[in-house]
């Protein structure tokens, strides 16, 4: 055995003398092409959103308002799934619970002030997601994806059934004729004003999310998504991170749900249930999970295309839409956004631009 050992030692000395220091030959970090695509896409989407009410007929502006609210809802799911890797199949639970909550405030307490309704909606979403998230995510050991997805799905389904059977909540019919949202004596009616109001909220929430996912917290989320066990060994409290992001997602979903309830003027059990929960999953997968703008684009395109298809192909439009979705998910698992966005930019870089080093790395 010792003979072999000496032979090995000799060989390794040879290698050393011939090659010198290893692994120094790699090229310096290449500046990835197209690093700036994301802001351009975001700017374009915002620009289009801003001019939309001028070019659309009134009934289409109402439709666009609904889409903007759903995009807000999609952001909430994207944070939870796309950024933290928590498969929430019950995101509508928070959306619908807030919708029902604010509808009851309007019906029973005559509260319609936007200054109370929106915080209340967000708070309902937060509370519901803290409760469900605490139960599903805060075990001593990490909970499996299956457990969380079934748990959230069950929560959403149960809430749907509960609302259908509960007379106080209007049963199958939900709560109709919610009065308009108010600010002082001003009433937000459907149309451009409501549109710009929700667009403003979407932009603010979007920017907050953007700040969050690009922070060091966002890096921790990336670690969580990629390898939860690994980051636990670094000393991260992975379950806490998950519960926090789940609660933030729930808050945003609650905000969206309360805007939706007042915009539509009624709430109904579907808002809590599987229909809306799966719809939001599709928005995000279609547009590109793990990018905030992907969630927005996915919502706009799916809603836009279904609107157009249902007008023009009255009978078979769900089939066309289904095939389209399937194609994207099969051939573009990273969503439509991956047509224009490279891997590096999609995942992001969290280290500050390296001024102190050679300066030839990413800008």
């Amino acid at each position: 055995m010792s003979g072999a050992r000496e032979a090995v030692a000799r060989i390794s000395e040879d290698v050393v003398t011939r090659e010198g220091t290893p692994a120094a030959s790699a090229p310096a970090g290449r500046a990835s092409a197209g690093w700036k695509v994301l802001p351009i896409v975001e700017g374009l989407v915002l620009l289009i959103a801003l001019v939309l009410p001028w070019v659309l007929q009134d009934y289409l502006t109402v439709f666009a308002t609904r889409v903007v609210i759903l995009a807000l809802f999609a952001l909430s799911f994207d944070l939870v799934w796309g950024y933290a890797g928590i498969m929430s199949f019950g995101q509508a639970l928070f959306f619908g619970a807030a919708g029902y909550g604010v509808a009851l405030m309007a019906r029973d307490l005559n509260v319609t002030s936007i200054l109370l309704i929106l915080p209340a909606g967000a708070l309902i979403g937060l509370t519901a997601s803290l409760l469900l998230g605490g139960f599903l995510l805060l075990g001593r050991y990490p909970s499996s994806v299956i457990f969380v997805s079934l748990g959230t799905l069950t929560g959403s389904y149960a809430a749907d059934r509960l609302a259908r059977g509960w007379y106080y909540l209007g049963g199958q019919n939900g709560i109709p004729s919610i009065p308009p949202l108010t600010l002082g004596s001003y009433e937000f009616e459907e149309g451009p004003v409501y549109y710009y109001m929700v667009l403003g909220i979407l932009v603010v929430v979007y920017l907050l999310c953007r700040f969050l996912v690009r922070s060091q917290f966002g890096l921790a989320l990336a670690g969580l998504r990629e390898n939860e066990q690994r980051i636990a060994f670094f000393g991260y409290k992975a379950q806490h991170l998950k519960a926090i992001i789940f609660a933030i997602g729930g808050t945003i979903a609650g905000l969206a749900g309360s805007l939706y309830a007042f915009h539509e003027g009624f709430v109904w059990p579907n808002m809590l249930g599987v229909v809306f929960s799966t719809q939001v999953v599709l928005y995000v997968l279609f547009g590109g999970s793990g990018t905030l703008i992907g969630a927005v684009i996915g919502t706009v395109i799916i809603e836009g295309v279904s609107f157009w298809l249902s007008d023009n192909y009255r009978d078979i439009w769900p089939i066309i839409l289904g095939v389209l979705l399937l194609l994207v998910i099969m051939f573009r698992p990273l969503g439509l956004i991956s047509f224009v966005l490279g891997e590096r930019e999609r995942v992001g870089s969290f280290g500050k631009a390296p001024k102190k080093e050679s300066g030839n790395a990413a800008p």
């Binding site: 090995v8 970090g29 990336a222 280290g351 102190k356 080093e357």
Partner: protein, 244 residues
């Protein structure tokens, strides 16, 4: 008082007894090799120490406290770090971000959300990358590294939290001879502040780098002592010859 003391560790998987009363003692600033034939329970003992497995019986003490029931997170916070046998760098993140992720693990949530430690940690990230000869690839995705480089990145990440004890499960697995030699070089300087437990098949590597060895066979400790003592030990020679 030793840094790490595991005693009477048994681990039973169904009908298989992987460990049967094994023990491991590691002192401050000691490089300790854990060797033995395939299936002797090296990796299982390592996992019981690291918290990836819970031992069926036995006790693990680390810096004077009983950590047997600690989760991996709690162990990491107590100053223990683990490099996995299968490299688990985060492939889509850059090298820089991989290290930063490891370094910032114990920052408060508030600091993370406001990115308040990003600037402060920059120099440390670059120092680690330079130390492990990866600085010129700081902004490449980790997936683009060679296998050996990924192992180094992984060791760098495991060291980022300034652990008192680093557990290395087969650090040179799949490496070329040259990469093995460099790995040994890279590990030497950490002795000043950190103890090491290494599970490794490459006995030359172990002999070069370790101060003490523990030999496992069929889930039991066959011998434990300095490298010279182990090399002179008859029964150790026997099991290696028997299976060679």
């Amino acid at each position: 008082m030793p840094l790490l003391e595991a005693s009477g560790i048994s681990k039973v998987f169904g009908k298989l007894t992987a460990l049967d009363g094994a023990a491991l003692t590691v002192g401050e600033n000691e490089f300790h090799g854990l060797i033995g034939p395939n299936g002797s329970g090296k990796s299982t003992l390592m996992k019981c120490v690291a918290g990836a497995e819970v031992p069926t019986t036995g006790k693990v003490s680390f810096i004077n406290s009983d950590i047997t029931a600690f989760t991996p997170t709690e162990r990491a916070r107590a100053g223990m770090s683990l490099k996995f046998q299968i490299t688990s760098v985060l492939p889509t993140l850059t090298l820089y971000d991989n290290i930063l992720l490891a370094l910032q693990a114990q920052c408060s949530l508030f600091d993370l959300v406001l990115s308040r430690t990003r600037r402060k940690l920059h120099d440390q990230v670059m120092t680690m990358l330079t130390q492990f000869r990866l600085a010129d690839r700081a902004h490449d995705a980790a997936a683009a590294l060679s296998h050996g480089q990924q192992q180094w990145l992984e060791i760098a990440m495991a060291l980022a939290g300034k652990p008192r004890l680093l557990l290395l499960d087969e650090p040179t697995g799949g490496m070329s001879l040259e990469e093995r030699r460099v790995t040994g070089e890279l590990l030497q300087p950490i002795k000043q502040h950190c103890s090491l437990v290494i599970v490794e098949h490459d006995l030359d590597f172990i002999r070069d780098i370790c101060d003490r060895l523990t030999v496992l066979d069929q889930g039991k400790v066959l011998a434990s002592g300095t490298v010279a003592e182990i090399q002179a030990n008859k029964s150790v020679q026997e099991i290696y010859l028997r299976r060679a």
